[in-house]
């Protein structure tokens, strides 16, 4: 019939994608990327950790010696110790704080929220050295109090680490519980009160059970963050050694590190974080009640006394959490003589970082920007494959992306070095390996952001485009990407703000010329140049916080989007 011969469909284009299909080609590419940057390095660490014993016959030799030598297994116990307590304390502080901020008419609620975000995104090692400045042996407050004859407890060792981790990571609990509270309907509380429950009893019996997934998730994230943090225990640990510090020491030891042992330690670290994440997923699923609030829990009027008490509690917590940041900013403008700060205003520190900052700052901005763009590009494609093309490959990708949450920065760093240290892929010490490390570590932000938006977009819109003659690639670029624009942008802003302060993988992967701002700060702190470190720290905090200002103001995101 004539209508068919003269109205042939749209033109077909050539190329590889035509023969294999657009999405199969894209899927293959992202799969190779994720496998090469995540799965292969992890597999290699496991391989290397077992290799030493191959000659002597005992493949588990390293693990046997780890668990039989007190020096090593004590390190593991130490790691659990300084992760368990911050987890407990963060729940004890974060849950009531979130409840008060969301339910009570406390004063300065907006300020509290901003402060929590600021605490949350500020680099943990900056907080640690700031506490040293305040409470260290020659710390400002230590000296002040000892001149009054009051000795202060030491900030060094396990108690100091637990203290810093608690303040640094309680926002996990705070933010998750806040968002959990918003998903509970007011009618739940009203019903409990109507049936004769007191406020506390209502919280205990009706509200808290619905918050269990939020609380357990927050708690385990605190645990993982504490367990894998490298900067804080280096700065505060002294003779108290934890697993990441041991790995770092074994790996970059100037007198010939032991990569095999470092690999075995990395595997242990990875096992713990993976187990914690699996436990978190299981707990969330087990205690999930899938509530949806039509009218979320409302702010309630309280008697003045309660209101004052709640405000005092929240502000005390926030005050402690913000103190190190405020200290950094203030001390960046103070004259310093090594670790001793003098109370007179100066811009010297900024003048001193000007010439030295140029390269690290450029590095930081360049690596972060490229990694963020890569994350946005690949993350959106991965999200599309996960949501729109379900199947075995798609669920494998999903699992791999989730797994990258579990891989600590230091483990990823060791894995990448072990994998890419010789030709043809001799990337160690290059900018490329840092960018790729940032990319694979932060990929979940982009994926998650796009996945949740894509799930809300009807597939019909894309089908309509295909039906009108646009191929899958054109449909993705012309329809899917524009529809996901805000999700992609907010994913990118989160990626940026989390990448720019990365320390642990960077410590393993950087060479002198690829040092970032975070590395510079770390070096200055280790060398005791607190003034310069503070100026650099202030710059870094600004760079971290700016994209979030965009995220909250222009994109209208709530701070819960951070976790």
């Amino acid at each position: 019939m004539s209508a068919l011969t003269d109205t042939a469909g749209p033109p077909r284009r050539g190329g590889l994608a035509r023969h294999l299909g657009f999405w199969p080609v894209v899927t293959a590419i992202v799969f190779v990327l994720i496998a090469g940057l995540l799965l292969l390095p992890v597999a290699n660490i496991v391989g290397v950790s077992l290799s030493a014993g191959a000659k002597t016959g005992g493949v588990f030799e390293n693990y046997v010696s780890f668990f039989s030598e007190r020096f090593y297994y004590q390190t593991l116990l130490n790691s659990f110790w300084v992760s368990f307590w911050p987890m407990v304390f963060a729940v004890c502080l974060g849950v009531p704080a979130a409840y008060f901020v969301n339910r009570y008419e406390i004063w300065g609620r907006g300020f509290v929220r901003a402060a929590v975000v600021l605490t949350f995104v500020s680099p943990p090692f900056i907080g640690s050295y700031s506490w040293v400045v305040l409470f260290g042996r020659s710390g400002v407050l230590t000296q002040f109090f000892s001149s009054l004859g009051i000795p202060l407890p030491s900030i060094y060792g396990a108690p100091g680490i637990i203290f810093v981790f608690t303040l640094q990571f309680f926002p996990f609990v705070f933010l998750l519980v806040s968002s959990g509270l918003k998903s509970i309907d007011q009618s739940v509380e009203d019903a409990a009160r109507n049936l004769g429950s007191s406020e506390f009893r209502t919280f205990r019996t009706a509200i808290a059970p619905l918050l269990v997934p939020s609380i357990t998730t927050g708690a385990l994230l605190v645990f993982i963050a504490s367990f894998t943090d490298l900067g804080t225990p280096i700065i505060l640990g002294e003779r108290f050694r934890v697993l990441p510090v041991l790995i770092y020491g074994e790996f970059v030891n100037e007198f010939g590190g032991r990569p095999v042992l470092a690999s075995a330690l990395s595997v242990l670290l990875l096992l713990v974080t993976t187990a914690a994440l699996l436990l978190q997923r299981w707990l969330s699923a087990r205690f999930s009640h899938a509530t949806a609030a039509i009218r979320p829990l409302q702010v309630q009027e309280q008697p003045l006394g309660k209101r004052i008490a709640a405000t005092a509690f929240v502000f005390l917590l926030i005050g402690f959490a913000l103190l190190p940041l405020a200290n950094i900013v203030v001390s960046s403008f103070l004259k310093s003589n090594g670790p001793v700060l003098v109370a007179s205003f100066t811009l010297d520190n900024y003048a001193r970082i000007m010439d030295r900052l140029a390269l690290p700052l450029w590095n930081t901005l360049f690596y972060t920007t490229v990694a963020t763009l890569l994350c946005a590009l690949v993350g959106t494609a991965v999200a599309y494959i996960i949501v729109r093309r379900p199947g075995p490959v798609s669920s494998l990708l999903d699992t791999a992306v989730m797994f990258s949450y579990a891989v600590p920065g230091i483990v990823l760093g060791v894995g990448l070095v072990v994998t890419y240290h010789e030709p043809p892929f001799a990337l160690t010490g290059t900018a490329a390996i840092l960018i790729l490390a940032y990319f694979i570590r932060r990929l979940p932000f982009s994926v998650r952001s796009s996945v949740s938006m894509l799930q809300q977009i009807s597939r019909d819109t894309e089908d309509a485009s295909i039906n009108l003659g646009a191929g899958p690639g054109r449909t993705f670029l012309r329809i899917t990407v524009p529809l996901l624009a805000t999700a992609i942008l907010s994913g990118a802003l989160l990626t940026w703000s989390n990448t720019i302060r990365e320390l642990s993988a960077t410590l393993i992967l950087q060479s002198g010329t690829t040092a970032t701002v975070a590395i510079e700060i770390f070096n200055e702190v280790v060398n005791g140049n607190f003034g310069v470190a503070s100026a650099l720290g202030t710059v870094l905090i600004l760079l971290t916080f700016l994209p979030l200002v965009v995220l909250f103001t222009l994109l209208g995101k709530k701070e819960e989007a951070l976790v």
Binding site: M1, L4, G9, P10, P11, D460, N467, L468, A470
Partner: protein, 360 residues
């Protein structure tokens, strides 16, 4: 056959053990408005998506003209689809939405503009060309996607319940408009709906589907007046079903039937089904007569009256649990009968259809 536009040849779609479309064969003529009618899960949307290429059939073929299109990707099939959810591109203006398929085909800008303008006019959207979809009403959005699907001059226009997201008034308005536009353009159309009124009003032919199979393919008039199966008789419009017993011939082409409450003569429409019988007749084909007058009919008692303004519905109890619905009109000056009045129900022999009872 030159006049055939779309041919569906024993198409089957299975999902594991369940079967969504079961050996359906159809030939749709060029320019025809063809409706797939059925309740949800009957396979009508599955069949439409197979034609569009979004689903791959398990067996059978789909042909456009004489060309088998089974191996063509959906973007190369040249079908225009209108979705239940509109599927308007929210980030593109009205003009860009309509031009989308033309741009994918690589047409020249001038030609695109000419065609878009034509369809803007046809759908009365000219004044809204540069609006974004969020500034349009539901009805306007549906006209945009209609124009978008038609402007590419598709071999077949596919519409998947396009009106079900609209309010009643807009739905009634748009169904007339869509039909008029389709006649004007002359595009072959496959229309999917669960709304029988829509199907009866718009279609050249209707295929009633159930459980993945075709129950009947016929014109709206025949679907309503000569239902081929008991399912069609019960699904389209309203029908009274009563068990019937064959009591012999009553002249050429006529049979005597014994029903609860009396006897009828029915005109045969085909062969008499073997075994048990059910007689079906519509509420508006029944006349309420005095019980003692002569002639055929079922005698019963008026059990309920539903007054609906212009029409009045009577429920007549024939005893033994058999209720018959009768539709009457409300005329000025005529009083409503009293409940409990006895009536004889008169039905013309041609208005009675006979089926084998459903095997439940």
């Amino acid at each position: 056959m030159a006049s055939t536009s779309v041919r569906i040849d024993t198409v089957t779609k299975r999902y594991g053990d369940s079967i969504a479309v079961d050996g359906v064969s159809l030939a749709i003529a060029k320019g025809e408005f063809f409706t797939l009618l059925g309740s949800s899960g009957c396979g009508k949307t599955t069949l439409l998506r197979i034609v569009a290429g979004f689903l791959k059939q398990t067996g059978g073929r789909v042909l456009f003209g004489d060309t088998c299109i089974d191996d063509l990707a959906p973007q190369h099939r040249n079908t225009g689809m209108v979705f239940q959810s509109y599927a308007i591109f929210p980030h593109l203006s009205v003009v860009d939405n309509i031009a989308y398929g033309l741009r994918a085909r690589g047409l020249k800008a001038a030609e695109i503009k000419r065609k878009v303008d034509t369809y803007l006019e046809l759908t009365r959207l000219s004044h809204l060309g540069h609006r974004k979809p969020r500034e349009l009403s539901g009805g306007q959005q549906q006209r945009v996607v209609l124009a978008r699907a038609m402007v590419i001059e598709p071999d077949v226009l596919l519409m998947d319940e396009p009106l079900s997201n609209l309010d009643t008034e807009m739905r009634i308005h748009l169904r007339t408009e869509i039909r008029a536009l389709q006649r004007k353009i002359g595009v072959t159309t496959i229309y999917v709906t669960h709304d029988q009124e829509e199907a009866l009003l718009m279609s050249d032919r209707i295929a009633v589907m159930r459980g993945g199979r075709l129950e009947q393919v016929a014109s709206p008039h025949d679907i309503y007046n000569r239902p081929a199966t008991r399912f069609v008789a019960s699904f389209i419009g309203e029908n009274n079903f009563l068990p019937a017993v064959h009591r012999g011939e009553a002249g050429p082409g006529h049979v005597r039937l014994e029903l609860p409450g009396g006897q009828f003569t029915a005109k045969l429409r085909g062969d008499l089904p073997a075994g048990a019988l059910e007689a079906a007749f519509r509420p508006q084909d029944i006349e309420l007569c005095p019980p003692d007058g002569g002639g055929d009919g079922l005698v019963g008692t008026l059990a309920d009256i539903q007054f609906l303004g212009g029409t009045v519905r009577y429920a007549v109890d024939l005893g033994g649990g058999h209720l018959v619905q009768v539709a009457g009109s409300n005329r000025s000056g005529v009083a409503l009968p009293a409940i409990g009045t006895r009536y004889r129900l008169g039905v013309s022999p041609a208005a009675i259809a006979l089926f084998a009872p459903e095997v439940a």
